[in-house]
C-alpha cells in the first residue's frame, strides 16, 4: 500500500507549483474571494494562460497541441489547481476540453481532430452537450430526437433539455436517433451541430436557486454536415458510454480536495456562529469529516484502478452516490449552524454552479444557502441515486435484473 506518486509525477507537480507561484500573488486566497464580474474576468485570462502553457491539454498527443503526458500528470495538475483555488479553464471546458476533445481523440476522424481540437483549445468554439430529453432522463436510451440524411446533411428534429450553457455556446454534440428500426440502444448517432442556425432555438430556464444555467434546445429541421458524425453512424451509444470513465480519475482526486475545503469552511462557520462547542453539532461535523476523509481514501482506490488502466467500472457509481448523498448532509448542517441567518441569504451565491463554492469565498449565508439548494440536484443529475443503486446492485453485486415490463 502506497499512496505516494512516482517521481515523474512529483516533478510535474513542482513544475505546476512553480507556475502557480509565478502567476498568483503570494496571498492569493482563491478565486472565491472575487466578486462575480472580476471572477469571470480572471477566469477568461486564466484560461488563456493555461491553454498557452499546455495545461488544458496535458494528456493530448503532441501532434494535436498536447503535452503527451499521462493521466497521472493530469491528476496532479487538477490537484494543484484545486489546492490553489484556481479553475481548470472556463465552465464550458467541461464540455469542450474534457468531454468532446477526449471523445474526438478516441473516436474522431483525422479531419475532425484537425479541425476541432485546436479551436477547442483556443476557445474559439464553445461547446455544450445535448443528451437528455424531457422524456429521456434516467432512461436516456429512450431518446426520440431524430436525424435523417438529406443529401450531404443531417436534418435534426427534436428537443434536448438540461444543456448547461447552451446560451453561450457555438456548437452542441447531440445524441440523435438515426435508425428507427434498431433496438433501443442501437440506431443512435453522436452528431456535432452548430447552434447558430435558424433551426435551433435555445431557451434558458432557472434552477430553484434562481440561477440561469440550463437550457432547453429545440431542433426544427436543424442541419449539420453529413461527415460530422463521430465514431460512425448508429454507434453513438457506444461513443457516449466510453466517455463515462474519462473523468473518474480526476474526480476521484479533486472531489475530496473540493469537499475538504468546503468542510473546513464549515468548521469556520461553526466558530463564527458560536456552534463549535455544541456537542450535537460537533458530532455532525465529525461525521462529515469522516465522510470526506473516506471519500479521499475511496478516491485512492479508484485512482489505483484507473492508473492501472482498468476499464471504467461501477466505482463511478459509488463515487457519484457517495459525494451527492454526503453533500445533502453537509449543506444541511451548514443551514442548521446558521439557523435563522440561513433563511436570509446575504452575500453572492457561489461562483460555480455545482458542488461547493470556490476557495476563498466569503463564508456567507448567500454562498451556503445556494449551495444547499443546488446540492438537492446532485442526487438527480448525471444519474439519480436510484439509478446508481440499481447499477451497483446489478453490476457489482450481480443481483438479477427486474423483469421487464411488456413494452407498449
Amino acid at each position: 500500500m502506497d499512496i505516494s506518486y512516482p517521481p515523474e509525477a512529483e516533478a510535474f507537480r513542482e513544475e505546476v507549483k512553480d507556475f502557480l507561484a509565478e502567476q498568483l500573488p503570494a496571498d492569493w486566497p482563491g478565486i472565491g474571494a472575487l466578486d462575480e464580474e472580476p471572477a469571470w474576468e480572471f477566469s477568461r485570462k486564466w484560461r488563456e494562460l493555461l491553454a498557452e502553457r499546455g495545461y488544458l491539454s496535458v494528456t493530448w498527443p503532441r501532434e494535436h497541441g498536447g503535452r503527451g503526458l499521462s493521466k497521472l500528470h493530469q491528476v496532479v495538475l487538477m490537484e494543484e489547481l484545486a489546492q490553489a483555488g484556481v479553475p481548470f479553464g472556463m465552465p464550458h471546458d467541461t464540455f469542450g476540453v474534457k468531454m468532446l476533445a477526449n471523445t474526438l481523440l478516441r473516436w474522431g476522424s483525422e479531419e475532425q481532430k484537425k479541425h476541432f481540437l485546436p479551436r477547442i483549445l483556443a476557445g474559439e468554439d464553445v461547446w455544450c452537450q445535448g443528451y437528455s430529453e424531457p422524456d429521456a432522463g434516467s432512461d436516456l436510451a429512450s431518446l426520440t430526437t431524430r436525424a435523417e440524411l438529406d443529401g450531404d446533411e443531417w436534418v435534426i428534429n427534436g428537443q434536448k433539455v438540461w444543456t448547461s450553457g447552451a446560451h453561450h455556446s457555438d456548437w452542441i454534440f447531440v445524441l440523435a436517433r438515426t435508425n428507427q428500426e434498431a433496438p433501443k440502444h442501437g440506431g443512435i448517432s453522436f452528431l456535432l451541430v452548430p447552434l447558430n442556425q435558424p433551426g435551433v432555438e435555445v431557451r434558458p430556464f432557472r434552477m430553484m436557486s434562481g440561477q440561469l444555467h440550463f437550457n432547453e434546445v429545440f431542433f426544427t429541421d436543424a442541419r449539420t454536415r453529413a461527415d460530422l458524425v463521430v465514431g460512425g453512424v448508429d454507434n453513438g451509444w457506444t461513443v457516449a458510454q466510453s466517455l463515462l470513465g474519462v473523468e473518474r480519475g480526476e474526480e476521484a482526486a479533486t472531489n475530496p480536495i473540493l469537499f475538504k475545503a468546503e468542510l473546513e469552511r464549515l468548521i469556520e462557520l461553526a466558530r463564527m456562529y458560536g456552534k463549535d462547542r455544541d456537542p450535537v453539532i460537533r458530532q455532525r461535523i465529525a461525521w462529515c469529516w469522516a465522510k470526506v476523509e473516506t471519500m479521499r481514501n475511496l478516491g485512492y482506490r479508484i485512482l489505483t484502478g484507473w492508473l492501472k488502466g482498468a476499464a471504467p467500472g461501477p466505482e463511478s457509481s459509488i463515487a457519484k452516490l457517495y459525494w451527492s448523498e454526503y453533500h445533502l448532509q453537509v449543506t444541511d448542517l451548514a443551514m442548521d449552524i446558521m439557523g435563522m441567518h440561513a433563511q436570509v441569504p446575504v452575500g453572492r451565491p457561489p461562483l460555480r454552479t455545482f458542488r461547493a463554492d470556490d476557495p476563498g469565498a466569503a463564508n456567507s449565508s448567500g454562498s451556503w444557502s445556494t449551495t444547499y439548494l443546488v446540492a438537492r440536484s446532485g442526487t438527480i443529475y448525471a444519474g439519480t441515486s436510484q439509478v446508481q443503486r440499481n447499477i451497483l446492485a446489478e453490476k457489482v453485486l450481480g443481483l438479477p435484473r427486474e423483469p421487464r415490463a411488456a413494452q407498449k
Binding site: 422524456d135 430556464f205 440536484s377 438527480i380 436510484q386
Partner: protein, 372 residues
C-alpha cells in the same frame, strides 16, 4: 373518543381550501411573492371580512369567531398546502396570541377588531442578531418616556412581515424586566428594512429603533412568560402549517409518480419510488398526529403544551423537510427548476424548520419538558 375534526371544523377546512384554490393558485403565489408587500392586501381583507380567518381565535366581543387554536391550526395547514403568501402566522397567531393572553383588555378592544377584520396586520418582534429564543437574547431597551409612555432603542430582526405590519409588538428589556411594547408601524425613529429571504412566500424584516415611542402591554407577571406562551402557540401553528406543506408535497410526488414513465413503466411502479413515498406517507401521518395533538393541547390550555409544542415543532419540521426534498427527488430534473412548485414547498419547509428554533433545539426543550 373521536380524534378527528368535528363537522364544523371540517366545513371550515373545505371552505378555506375552496377559497384558496380559487383565489390563490400557484400563479398567484408566484405573482404575490414578487411584490413589495409580499402578500395580497385585498385578498387578506376578504379573508377577514368574508371568512373571518384572522379572527378565528378572537372572542366575538372583539370581532372574532370565538373559536381557538385548533381552528387556527387547521387554517395554517391549508395555507401551507396552498403555499399562500400572507402574514397569518405573524398577525393571526403571534400578535393575536400575545394580546389574547395579555392582561390588557384595553389593547384588545383597540386592536383585535381591526386584526380580525383583516384591516390591519400586527406582528411580534422578538429575535435580534444573536438569533436567540430566550430571555437573554433580548437586548433592545425600553425606558420610561415623559408622558407615561416608553421609548425603545436597539434592533430586531427576522421579524415576520415586519416591514408591512401596522403594529409591532416589540419585546424589550425594561429596568423591571422583560416587557412587550406596542409600536406603530409608522412610528418616528423606527426604520424597517425588508430582508432577502430564501423562502419568498414569507417576508421578514430588520427593524432599527431609535427613541421609538411605544405603549407597554399589560401582562400578568413578567412579560417573558407571555412571550413563551406566544412562542409555544406559534410553534404549534407552524407545525400545523408544516403538515399542510408536507401533505401537498406528497400528493404532488404521488401524482407525478403515476404519470411519469421511464424504462417503459410509470416510475411509481418501481419499489425504490414506492418505498420512498411510503416512508413519506409515514412522515406525513406522524406529523399530522403530532400537530393535531399539539393543537388540542393549545386549545385546552393544558400543562403539557411545552412538551407538545416542542414535540410537534421538531417532528413536523423534520417530516416536512424530508417529504418536500423527496418530492424534488421523485420529480427528477424538473423538480429542481424554478418553474416547478416543488422548490417553493421545500424552501418553506426548511426555513420553517429553522424558524422559532431548529429541531435539535426543540428536542432539548422536549427533554427538559419531560424531566430528563
Amino acid at each position: 373518543m373521536d380524534f378527528a375534526f368535528d363537522e364544523d371544523q371540517e366545513e371550515l377546512r373545505r371552505t378555506v381550501r375552496a377559497f384558496l384554490e380559487a383565489t390563490a393558485p400557484e400563479a398567484e403565489t408566484r405573482r404575490t411573492m414578487e411584490t413589495e408587500a409580499g402578500y395580497d392586501q385585498a385578498l387578506w381583507r376578504r379573508m377577514g371580512s368574508e371568512l373571518g380567518l384572522q379572527g378565528l381565535a378572537i372572542p366575538e366581543e372583539h370581532g372574532g369567531a370565538g373559536a381557538g387554536p385548533v381552528e387556527v391550526g387547521l387554517v395554517m395547514e391549508e395555507m401551507g398546502r396552498a403555499m399562500l403568501c400572507a402574514p397569518y402566522l405573524a398577525s393571526a397567531v403571534q400578535a393575536t396570541t400575545a394580546l389574547l393572553h395579555s392582561d390588557d383588555e384595553e389593547a384588545r378592544t383597540e386592536l383585535l377588531p381591526a386584526l380580525a377584520a383583516g384591516e390591519q396586520v400586527a406582528t411580534l418582534a422578538l429575535t435580534e442578531d444573536s438569533a436567540r429564543w430566550n430571555r437573554e437574547g433580548v437586548t433592545l431597551t425600553a425606558r420610561a418616556g415623559a408622558d407615561g409612555g416608553w421609548l425603545l432603542d436597539g434592533h430586531k430582526t427576522f421579524v415576520l412581515d415586519g416591514a408591512q405590519a401596522d403594529v409591532v409588538l416589540t419585546v424589550a428589556r425594561a429596568t423591571d424586566g422583560i416587557g412587550i411594547f406596542l409600536v406603530a408601524g409608522d412610528a418616528p425613529g423606527l426604520t424597517r428594512t425588508t430582508l432577502p429571504t430564501l423562502d419568498l412566500t414569507r417576508r421578514q424584516a430588520r427593524l432599527e429603533y431609535r427613541d421609538v415611542p411605544a405603549r407597554r402591554l399589560r401582562t400578568r407577571g413578567d412579560g417573558w412568560e407571555l412571550v413563551e406562551v406566544v412562542l409555544r402557540h406559534s410553534a404549534v401553528a407552524l407545525a400545523a402549517e408544516q403538515v399542510g406543506v408536507a401533505s401537498r408535497a406528497l400528493e404532488m410526488a404521488v401524482e407525478y409518480a403515476k404519470v411519469r414513465h421511464q424504462f417503459g413503466r410509470a416510475i411509481g411502479s418501481f419499489q425504490a419510488v414506492k418505498h420512498l413515498l411510503a416512508d413519506s406517507l409515514m412522515e406525513v401521518e406522524s406529523a399530522r398526529a403530532a400537530a393535531y395533538a399539539a393543537l388540542l393541547s393549545a386549545q385546552n390550555g393544558e400543562g403539557d403544551l411545552p412538551m407538545a409544542a416542542s414535540l410537534a415543532k421538531s417532528l413536523c419540521s423534520d417530516a416536512s423537510v424530508k417529504v418536500t426534498q423527496d418530492n424534488i427527488q421523485v420529480h427528477g430534473g424538473i423538480g429542481f427548476t424554478w418553474e416547478h412548485p416543488a422548490h417553493l414547498y421545500f424552501k418553506r419547509a426548511k426555513t420553517s424548520q429553522l424558524l422559532l428554533g431548529d429541531s435539535a433545539y426543540h428536542r432539548e426543550l422536549l427533554a427538559q419538558a419531560i424531566g430528563v
